[in-house]
Symmetry: C2
Subunit: 277 residues, 2 copies
């Protein structure tokens, strides 16, 4: 049996292997400066953070450790969102049954110190995030560790950080909704058949067809995000070719990164629930 940290690492590797995942780096596609090999190195570097979370290290600290480890490659941000989604699930699975309620208890118990550690993780890597709302400039995550005194002064927990971001960030929304989409997609993976890279592709497309990707909204805008959702649905309906859409989105630099991150979380849950590789 693989333990939780091993399953978490494997989830990262299986996620990037799934193909076609239109707009993402996958087994068959690279961006010029963000390549499959960077995701391999990111997954290798993330493992000690998973082990820390499973051993009881607070989630913020374990997350920051995994981001620091992930960052030892030249591609930049490979798995920031995936690690944010998976880390509480690892800590949950290491201590009890991995259920939406148990995961919610874990994230609700996060502290101000977890929030500070989360902000410090931004020191290691550039992440595309929207600017903060007016009046909350001191909480801009892009300030990294410079923002930790504002966090402490305002007394904000990591769960509260996620709660503030949930309306515009799909991973934060997972934190505040019992990881609803991740658990649902895990069942799709478990009840599908065939090689995992194909199940991963289908699960990714179902998630993408279901909701506009918040990473696309942040980087490219609402309209492209909605277009991609409609076209993912067309791929599932068989009226558009997934491989063609994948090549087009890479060419247009439209990357549904949040959907990939939720797919990784779903893979972790599925592995914990017995998905055989």
């Amino acid at each position: 049996m693989r333990d939780c940290p091993a399953n978490a690492q494997l989830a990262l590797l299986l996620e990037v292997t799934g193909t076609p995942k239109p707009g993402n780096v996958d087994r068959h596609r690279d961006y010029d400066t963000l390549r499959f090999e960077h995701f391999m190195a990111g997954a290798v570097g993330a493992r000690p953070g998973f082990e820390a979370a499973a051993a009881g290290t607070p989630i913020g600290t374990a997350f920051a450790q995994s981001i620091e480890g992930m960052s030892h490659q030249s591609g930049g941000n490979t798995q920031f969102g995936a690690l944010l989604a998976i880390m509480p699930l690892v800590q949950t699975a290491a201590t009890t049954d991995l259920t939406p309620n148990a995961a919610t208890m874990v994230v609700e118990e996060t502290t101000i110190e977890d929030a500070c550690a989360f902000y410090r993780a931004f020191d290691h890597v550039d992440v595309a995030v929207p600017p903060p709302p007016p009046g909350l400039e001191d909480l801009d995550v892009r300030r990294g560790s410079d923002a930790t005194s504002a966090i402490t002064n305002r007394g904000i927990s990591l769960y509260q950080v996620m709660d503030h971001a949930a309306s515009h960030d799909g991973i934060a929304a997972e934190w505040t909704t019992g990881f609803q989409r991740s658990f649902e997609a895990a069942e799709w993976l478990l009840t599908d058949d065939g090689p995992i890279y194909q199940r991963t592709s289908r699960t990714f497309l179902r998630l993408l067809a279901d909701q506009p990707d918040t990473f696309i909204i942040t980087r490219n805008g609402q309209q492209p995000a909605e277009e991609v959702t409609e076209r993912a649905a067309a791929v599932l309906e068989g009226t558009e070719a997934g491989e063609v859409l994948a090549d087009e989105l890479v060419a247009r630099d439209i990357n549904p990164g949040t959907t990939a991150d939720i797919t990784a979380a779903a893979l972790f849950i599925a592995l914990e629930r017995g998905l055989e590789v």
Copy 2:
């Protein structure tokens, strides 16, 4: 900085990612029952064995641990030879400069107990090996842990096991020649340029063009092994297409597994010497 166990794990992942690697599973090719995802899971499972070797656990025990971890996937033998090649290099790199002489000292110090642990590793996975010579049937590695009393009675170290096999097994030959081909190929990786998956492909082809692959000899015979060597040279000379040869060898089930294993060892050495991902 990645530590030795992380570099060892990354070497396994980068090896299987390299494409085209004619005859092997690679980023673009699967066999029906041996797929890319099995290599991902194998690399995930192998890591604790690497960590044990780096921490000073005897090589045989660390190797058996890595094989046990590797075996938690349904594809069968994914990285047996690669782990056998890399494990002494990990222990060397964890304690001193990684040089041919230092690695030779490490393997020469292996004991009878290392040999017994090596045999026990065969309990976890089916490995294609030739039958033992007449009179040495009790030392057939395929007997696994059943052979350990014969090992003990004869007083054979793991180095001696490798010395006996060096004439017909390319990994055993690395053990007894200061990992000569692995160190040479590491320099090719370091002085090449471009994405790692392309460097890995070129390094694999150079190794394959240089010597017949002993895994092909064992499974398919001498003539196919020599044919593949000549055709790998043709790919390097530009008179044959690597992608076409890759598809053909997969269809013929001709798998240059030993060359892939040496490529993985070369990637580990290159990463330790500063190969940037």
